[in-house]
Symmetry: C2
Subunit: 250 residues, 2 copies
Amino acid sequence: MMMHFDLAQTAPAAAPVPCQDASYCQQCDVRARAICGTLEDDERAALNRLGRRVMVQAGQTVMWEGDDATIVANVIEGTLKLSASTGDGREQIVGVVYPSDFIGRPFGRSTPHSVTALTDARLCLFTRGAFDGFARTHPELGHRLLQRTLDDLDRARAWMLLLGRKNAREKIATFLLDMSHRLAGEGAGPLDSFALPLSRQQVADVLGLTIETVSRQMTDMKRAGIIALPNRRTVDILDRDQLACCAEGA
Amino acid sequence: MMMHFDLAQTAPAAAPVPCQDASYCQQCDVRARAICGTLEDDERAALNRLGRRVMVQAGQTVMWEGDDATIVANVIEGTLKLSASTGDGREQIVGVVYPSDFIGRPFGRSTPHSVTALTDARLCLFTRGAFDGFARTHPELGHRLLQRTLDDLDRARAWMLLLGRKNAREKIATFLLDMSHRLAGEGAGPLDSFALPLSRQQVADVLGLTIETVSRQMTDMKRAGIIALPNRRTVDILDRDQLACCAEGA
DNA sequence: CCCCCCTTTTGACAGAGGACAAGGACAGTC
DNA sequence: GACTGTCCTTGTCCTCTGTCAAAAGGGGGG
C-alpha cells in the first residue's frame, strides 16, 4: 500500500506509519545502488520496519531550510532539488538528487537546505531518530552513507569551481555535459538526447545565473550547431567535443 | 622526532615511516576534537602505529588535484587550503582547513582537489590504504569521519549560495564573519580582531572575485567604519551588526 | 479547434565587477 | 638606512551579465 505524502505531515509531529509488508525491499528498484544495498536480508527487513513509502508531487517541498531535521529518506523514483536561499529570496540550487540517492541530514539538529520535488517522486522515508539509531548499530550502513557523502562533497566542491570561476557559456556547457552523464542509467555511457528535469529558471538557479542569460546562451549554442532543442525540456547534444571545449573555456 | 615533509614523498612510492613513540597521541593538541578523539586508548595506539607526524612549510602542496589518492591526514597545527582549478589556470579555493580537521579522500581513487599549506603546518599522516582498512574495522572512527564529512558538505553548500547569488559586498562581509567564528578557539565566541591566514589573492579565490574587487570592498568598509585594517593581515570588526547587515544584502 | 496562461525568447539598456596599468606600502636583505 | 621584490591599493575603461519590458511559443482545458 502506497501512502500519499501529505505536506502537513512534514511537520515535526508527523506520525511515522511503519510499512508492514517486508517484501517491499525485495522489489525495490534502487536497492542495489542505495545505501541499504549491502545489508543482510534480516537487517534490511529491520530497517524496512522503521520506514514508510511515500509519494510526493512535483513542486512539493519535503523539508524546509532551517527546520529541525526530523526525517531522512532514500529516493526510489523521481528527481528532487536541494536549495538554499538568502533573506531577500534569491535562490541557489545546491544539489539535484536522483533515484537511489539519500536525502536529509542525519546526526544533525537542523536541515541546512530545502528539499523540493521537481517531478512526482517516491521516497522511502525514515524518522531521523530511528535512522540514526539504526545507522549507529549497523556500521555497514554507516559506511555506505559515508561513501555517498564523500561523493556528494566532491561534487559540491567541483560545482564551487563552476560557480566561482566559470562564465555563463562555460557554466551551461558544463551543466549539459553533467546532465548527460547523470541521467544515464547504471553503467551506461552519456546520453546524446535527454529531457531536462529542470525548467529554465531552475537551470539558472543551479548555475548562479538569470533565466535570460540561460536562454540566450542555449540559443547561441543551438545556432552554433552544438546542441538542438526540439522542445522546451529536451536537449540533443550534436557536437559533444565542441560542448566539452565550451565547458573548458576554449 | 619530527620528520620534515619532503615534497617528493607525496609521490605514490612514498614509503610510510611509522611513528615509533606511542605517547604522541597523549600529548596531541587536537586529539579531543579530531576524528580519533573517541577511540579507546589501545585503538588509538594501533592507529598511531600506522601514521607519522610531518611538517609542511607555508606554500607547500601536500596533494595535487587529480593525483591518485594515496594519503590522508589530520591537521595538528596550521591552516591549509583546498583548491580546484580550470584548465587555463583560474583557481577556486573550495575549503580552508584548521587544526583537528581531516584532509584527503578516503575510499576513493583520486584526490578531487589540491591541498596546500597556507602557514607552516603539522600533520598526522596516514597512507590511504592503511587508514581505509583501519576505518572499516573501527566503526567509531568511521562515524566520526561521517559526521565531519556531513558538516563539510553543509558548509560547502552554504558557500555555493554565496558564490552563486551574493554580490561582492555580501561575499566579503560573509567571509569576514565566517573567519571571525572559525578562528575562535573551542567554544569561544567570535573574535573581533584576528589575523587572516589568507592573502588578498587567496581571499579572492575563496569568494570567486578578483584581488582588486576584494581590496576595493575592504577599503570601502573601512571607510564606512565597519572594520579596521591595522595592517595587511589583521582585521578588526568595529560594527558587527552592520557587517551582518552587509552579509545579508541590507 | 481555439483560447488563455505560463514559460521561454528576444531586445534595449545599465551597472557591477573584471582587466589592465601604475603607484604605494611593507618586509627582508645587504 | 637604502634597496628590492612582493603584495596591496587606486585609477580608468570595458565587457559580461543582470534588469526591465515586450513579444513569441506551447500545452492544457473548454
